[in-house]
């Protein structure tokens, strides 16, 4: 399990999990679950284009940028979730086309959608590390504005941060994270890694910083457990990620129900 060809996978998966856990905290806080699902899935045409010979990282980044731009532009005229859905279907339609033009039809699609954690090469470690670093520093820089605008858009606007801009920056961070995580867990399940741990962490701590760190820790544990289980059983890693995310969510809900007995309901959930 820890032989040399697996080491890259462990390193990359760990970085992906930590970033996904941290970003996921804001995804859950801002109620951006659909966007967090649509952006990874929307990078699918980028992956599919790489089957046609386009550089994988460029393809992914291009699709992520299209996704972020599409959601932000359409959201001016539409409800947020409708904008997200429209962007998603357009990108998926493109992906279908690219996929059908490539010859690696059936083989490729499975790996694209559900990930191929065992096949990570040494050349993928550095790009992932750099993108993780970029995503982490973006979160640190935007920590307060992101938090504030999640709680009150008006308050945030008064303090000089236009909500549209914050949304755009936040979506870009999510897009960055997903483009990086895609080769590891696959398009369909990146967002389980973002949403599951964060939902449990939020239930366990109402204070932002501890909840964020807890979320990253749970995500890391989840990624490691999924990889180990996948290695031992030979079943797809995505199955374990999805199941463990649901488990984390269930534990979180149970936890908040237990601790609520005997306490007064909190005044403002999410922030102390």
């Amino acid at each position: 399990m820890f032989s040399s060809f697996m080491m890259n996978s462990w390193i990359v998966a760990s970085m992906v999990a930590i970033v996904a856990g941290l970003v996921g905290f804001f995804v859950v806080l801002r109620g951006a679950t659909f966007a967090a699902h649509a952006l990874p899935l929307g990078t699918f045409p980028g992956e599919a284009a790489s089957l046609l010979g386009v550089n994988q990282l460029f393809g992914l980044a291009g699709a992520a940028i299209l996704g972020v731009a599409g959601i932000s532009l359409l959201a001016r005229r539409q409800r947020n979730e409708v904008a997200t859905a429209l962007t998603l279907i357009t990108l998926l339609g493109l992906g279908t086309l690219f996929l059908s033009l490539s010859s690696q039809y059936a083989q490729g699609v499975y790996a694209l959608l559900f990930g191929e954690v065992l096949g990570i090469g040494a050349d993928q470690v550095l790009p992932v590390a750099l993108i993780s670093l970029a995503a982490l520093s973006a979160i640190l820089l935007l920590f307060r504005p992101l938090l504030l605008s999640a709680v009150s858009e008006d308050l945030s606007a008064v303090r000089g941060a236009p909500p549209g801009l914050i949304d755009l920056l936040f979506l870009s961070i999510v897009g960055l994270t997903t483009a990086m995580a895609l080769p590891v867990v696959g398009a369909l399940l990146v967002f389980s890694l973002m949403v599951g741990p964060a939902s449990a962490a939020r239930a366990m701590s109402a204070r932002p910083l501890p909840a964020m760190l807890l979320s990253a820790a749970i995500a890391l544990g989840m990624a490691w457990a999924s990889m180990a289980l996948s290695y031992l059983s030979n079943w797809p890693v995505g199955f374990f990620v999805g199941t463990l995310a649901a488990l984390a969510y269930a534990i979180g809900r149970g936890w908040s129900r237990m601790t609520r007995i005997g306490h007064q309901p909190r005044q403002s959930p999410g922030l102390a």
């Binding site: 801002r30 001016r76 409708v82 039809y105 059936a106 083989q107 699609v109 369909l188 939902s199 797809p236």
Partner: protein
């Protein structure tokens, strides 16, 4: 005419099945889609379709009717989503996301079994991207029956559905059982997405659900008119897509372009066109 309708378009049996089932899926999805957008449940509609793919892969694995596979999984997840339902929209989305993640994980596992146990490598493609021209003719009556059932339920619930969507408090005061209506609606939604998941595939069925309805709602504010427009757009895109995909065998010899791509493109064009045609007004926030 032969440059529009390539030879054999109207006589080919797979094409007729595709037109019939695809058209049915487009109509039901368009009608359900208008309510989905008004009720703000686009994510739920998308999630149900994705999760239903687990049922589709199970059907491949056990050799049962794929329609029943898709359908039972969609209904099951609709029950879970409503059963553990949360009041606030953000929490509802979160639960939807969790169900979606778990369901897709299950899909991954079942597809893996499909590939390793039965050697059906095409299962992933068929389930995720649909197989419009490979629908078994025997499915047609069941598929159209399901579609009709969904339309009848929507017709019966028309007023309560609208009222609950616009103002749940007033609906409750007027004696509407809001949660019951919500559950019934989710079940109808799962019927609709099942049909379209069968035809254009699980991950693209959102196109038929949200696309025509979003375009129609830009033109019309009255629900009845919007529904009629959405049906027209959906049906046009679906049939147009089938036609173009059929013709595309002639463009690139021996290799057709995917139906789903054409359907999505047509829907997107319709959406852009309605944006130009729609009267300019201040964003109404809806």
């Amino acid at each position: 005419m032969s440059w529009i309708f390539a030879e054999g378009f109207f006589t080919s049996a797979p094409v007729q099945t595709a037109l019939l089932v695809g058209g049915g899926a487009a109509v039901v999805s368009a009608v359900a889609g208008v309510f989905t957008i008004i009720r703000g449940q686009s994510f739920a509609g998308h999630a149900l379709a994705d999760v239903s793919s687990a049922g589709g892969s199970a059907a491949f694995l056990f050799g049962i009717n794929p329609l029943l596979g898709f359908l039972s999984m969609a209904v099951l997840s609709a029950l879970v989503m409503e059963g553990f339902g949360a009041k606030r929209a953000a929490e509802r989305d979160l639960l939807t996301g969790i169900v979606l993640g778990a369901g897709l994980g299950l899909t991954a596992l079942l597809l893996y079994f499909d590939v390793s146990a039965r050697g059906t490598a095409g299962a992933a493609i068929a389930v995720m991207f649909g197989s419009m021209f490979a629908i078994a003719p025997g499915i047609v009556p069941l598929a159209l029956g399901i579609g009709l059932g969904a339309l009848v339920v929507i017709g019966l619930l028309y007023r309560p559905l609208l009222l609950c969507a616009l103002n749940p408090d007033i609906a409750a005061i007027r004696g509407v059982k809001v949660r019951l209506v919500g559950l019934a609606y989710l079940l109808v939604l799962s019927l609709a997405v099942t049909l379209s998941a069968m035809t254009i595939g699980a991950i693209l069925s959102t196109a038929l659900l949200i696309g025509p309805a979003a375009a129609a709602l830009r033109l019309a504010r009255r629900p009845g008119v919007a529904i009629a427009l959405a049906v027209l757009i959906g049906l046009g895109a679906c049939w147009g897509g089938i036609l173009l995909a059929y013709d595309s065998y002639d463009w690139t010899p021996g290799h057709g372009w995917p139906v789903s791509f054409f359907i999505v493109s047509l829907i997107f064009l319709a959406y852009l066109a309605t944006g130009l045609a729609a009267p300019r007004r201040a964003p109404a926030g809806g």
